[in-house]
């Protein structure tokens, strides 16, 4: 059993689908932050069998976690302060996704226009449907750019 120590302030993202932690690492921009991050892969889980966990030591206002709701609704977000869980944060679907997914429609202008961001808007909250701002193509689960 591998032991990773407690963090004083930051987030513990639990119940990440096994194998998805590196994708979250990039989508949250953790590669650009100067903070301590523990990536735990394939931890044992009673609920999922195997799961990933991310522990991020940072100011709790630093990260925008909304994108997690789009990637995986089942992730548990624990907010840590002074070494204790102070909040289990509910995830809300973001209204806009910027450069999280790539439009796969070959007829879309995003396929040729230089420097154009891939922007999707929340078209149907109930069914969690996002559509491309430019061509209205539906985002698919595997459209993630990473």
């Amino acid at each position: 059993m591998l032991n990773v120590g407690k963090i004083e302030e930051g987030f513990v993202l639990d119940h990440i689908q096994a194998g998805k932690s590196m994708s979250l690492y990039r989508h949250l921009g953790l590669d650009r932050l100067d903070c301590t991050v523990a990536i735990i892969k394939n931890a044992r889980s009673g609920k999922l069998g195997k799961k990933d966990i991310l522990k991020v030591e940072c100011d709790i206002d630093t990260l925008n976690l909304d994108v997690l709701a789009y990637i995986d609704h089942n992730i548990t977000v624990n907010v840590i302060k002074d070494g204790e869980i102070v909040e289990k944060r509910a995830l809300e679907l973001p209204r806009i996704l910027e450069d999280i997914c790539i439009c796969k429609n070959p007829r879309c202008i995003t396929s040729i226009e230089q420097g154009l961001r891939h922007i999707f808007y929340l078209a149907d909250e109930k069914n969690e449907v996002y559509r491309c701002r430019y061509c209205d193509e539906r985002a698919r689960g595997n459209d993630s750019g990473s």
Binding site: R107, I109, E113, Q114, L116, C132, Y134, C135, D136, E137
Partner: protein
């Protein structure tokens, strides 16, 4: 209508704003000469990255009839796009020359990219299989002209309902009006996309789907015919198999109501037999005329130049 506005989708304007544009269009129809100097210092740029005769000429004629002038290009090979220039850079350049731009592009969303950086109004004149809002405005104006209102009728849409952008936009636009019933007439391979039927279900708007035009035609107040478009198919065999699936001829038309109108976004290939053209119910060439009036009204509105109408007592927002 205040501030810089663009037209990307028919839903960009409220029903009230569309009514105001249609009022101007009808005023233009009745008093065409009064508008001949309305835009005499203004320039329209027509940026057409793919061939289009009807739409481009309709825009250009609309501007010329308002006394304005026109610059532009008719295909991508005669523009800087052939050198690799982005849409954003092209519109920034065009905006230095012109007061308003109509853009057609084979890539979906290209006019929206232009509108995001443009200091002048941009009109989407067709972006791939996505939107063609001025065709929808044309269709709505034609229906209002023929029927007197945009509510309480049954409309049959026939042909390519899968790839036909004009059909999707028209259905979407008509969902905002009362008491309209849709009949979708298409082969199984070309049925309307799920998102359209989901939208109708959500709004409790009645519709039915059938493969047989003969069965559907007696109940219709409007029959909107479409062409099966070769350019929307990746597979030539599928196109050839489906292109002649529906042909409206006099025999089929004999089953229709005496006051049913036939609409078509044109160009027609052979889905409407030429002998139908003489029937008073054939309204597709009148539709072309209304297309020019509505583009005139749209250009005036986006440029905030509705003095001719205001002078006549029309209330333009």
């Amino acid at each position: 209508m205040n501030g810089l506005r663009h037209l990307m989708s028919p839903m960009d304007f409220s029903v009230e704003e569309l009514d105001a544009i249609f009022d101007v269009a009808f005023d233009i129809e009745a008093h065409l000469h009064d508008y001949k100097g309305a835009l005499d210092t203004r320039i329209l740029a027509t940026c057409f990255y793919e061939p289009s005769t009807r739409t481009r000429l309709s825009f250009e004629t609309a501007m010329l009839r308002l006394g304005g002038r026109v610059i532009g290009f008719a295909d991508a090979s005669s523009s800087s796009a052939a050198k690799g220039e982005s849409v954003a850079d092209t519109i920034r350049t065009i905006a230095c020359f012109a007061d308003i731009c109509a853009m057609r592009h084979p890539k979906e969303g290209a006019p929206m990219v232009a509108s995001e950086v443009s200091p002048i109004p941009v009109i989407n004149a067709g972006d791939g299989g996505h939107h063609h809002p001025t065709q929808t405005l044309t269709d709505l104006l034609t229906i209002r002209a023929l029927k007197g209102s945009l509510s309480s009728f049954t409309i049959g849409l026939c042909g390519d309902l899968k790839f036909g952008r004009t059909v999707h936009s028209l259905i979407h636009a008509l969902t905002r009006y009362d008491n309209i019933r849709f009949v979708f007439i298409s082969p199984a391979e070309l049925v309307v996309p799920d998102y359209i039927t989901e939208l109708l279900d959500e709004k409790n708007i009645p519709y039915e789907a059938t493969r047989r035009l003969d069965d559907a035609i007696p109940d219709l107040d409007f029959l909107y015919m479409t062409r099966v478009q070769r350019e929307r198919f990746f597979n030539e065999e599928d196109y050839i198999r489906l292109k002649d699936y529906y042909i409206l001829d006099r025999k089929k038309l004999s089953r229709a109501k005496s006051d049913m109108y036939i609409l078509h976004p044109l160009p027609r290939v052979n889905e409407i037999a030429v002998d139908v053209d003489e029937d008073p119910r054939a309204a597709y060439f009148r539709q072309v005329q209304y297309g020019m009036y509505v583009r005139m009204a749209l250009i005036l509105t986006l440029l905030g130049e509705t003095k001719a109408g205001i002078n006549r007592g029309l209330l333009i927002r």
